[in-house]
């Protein structure tokens, strides 16, 4: 593999992170569950996520803080987010739901009742205190090279260091 660097994401990486959230959510289909749920185009959703990312949310995948990025020769190759569920006192579903409530136009939010099944599917049950991995995305040209494993190890080691140095608490 060429020169691989894995680092914590920065606010300036948000375009790639938002792409990762939407691409990962598509799960090899043409449309993300957010698009289906809110009946919004991909471009409309990208605008919504740009607004959400301005708040720098921690504790779910809706902020740059939880992401690590793999770069090969300076090019974004892949990314994924991690966090400890509920470490700051709020479950990730509550953060995610609040973010959508505040950033999605009211008329689209009102479609939730119609699309309740899809909405339930994006809020999986998660165990408080456990490490969560979400929004895994690798650029198609960099797949099959073991980059995700490197990203996963980065997240595990970073989280372990955070708890060992006492920077974080709340893990089980």
């Amino acid at each position: 593999m060429e020169h691989l660097v894995i680092e914590k994401a920065k606010p300036t990486d948000k375009d790639f992170l938002i792409k990762a959230i939407l691409e990962a959510d598509k799960s090899f289909t043409d449309i993300s569950s957010y698009s289906k749920l809110l009946e919004m185009s991909e471009n409309e959703l990208i605008s919504v996520f740009h607004e959400i990312f301005e708040e720098e949310l921690e504790g779910c995948e809706f902020g740059h803080e939880g992401f690590a990025i793999a770069k090969i020769d300076g090019v974004n190759a892949g990314t994924c987010a991690s966090w400890i569920e509920g470490a700051d006192g709020l479950p990730s579903w509550q953060l995610r739901t609040s973010a959508l409530f505040c950033s999605v136009p009211t008329e689209n939010m009102s479609l939730l009742k119609k699309n309740i099944e899809t909405f339930s599917s994006i809020n999986l049950p998660r165990t408080p205190g456990s490490l969560q991995i979400e929004s895994v995305y690798l650029d198609p040209s960099f797949r099959g090279q073991g980059i995700f494993l490197e990203l996963l190890n980065f997240h595990i080691n970073f989280t372990r260091e955070q708890f060992q140095c006492g920077c974080r608490s709340g893990v089980s």
Partner: protein
Amino acid sequence: MAKKSITMEINETLQNIFREVFNNPELVIHPEMTANDVANWDSITHLVMISQVEETFGIRLKLKELIKLKNVGDLIQLLNEKKSA
């Protein structure tokens, strides 16, 4: 009869919202209460509850405010601040 304090009014109104949204007429809210303590408090009912709070109290809640709410007590305090402002 003494005039109800703003906090008492907020508590009472919020409790009525919770009883209706979470479909439990016996529900009694308390400051330490979280989603873990209330049956039916999930992503959908959370959305309904926030929009009911906004509509009933005539306020708008910002994301930076919502993500700081760790329990019902935090919500009561925020509503107090907004109604007193």
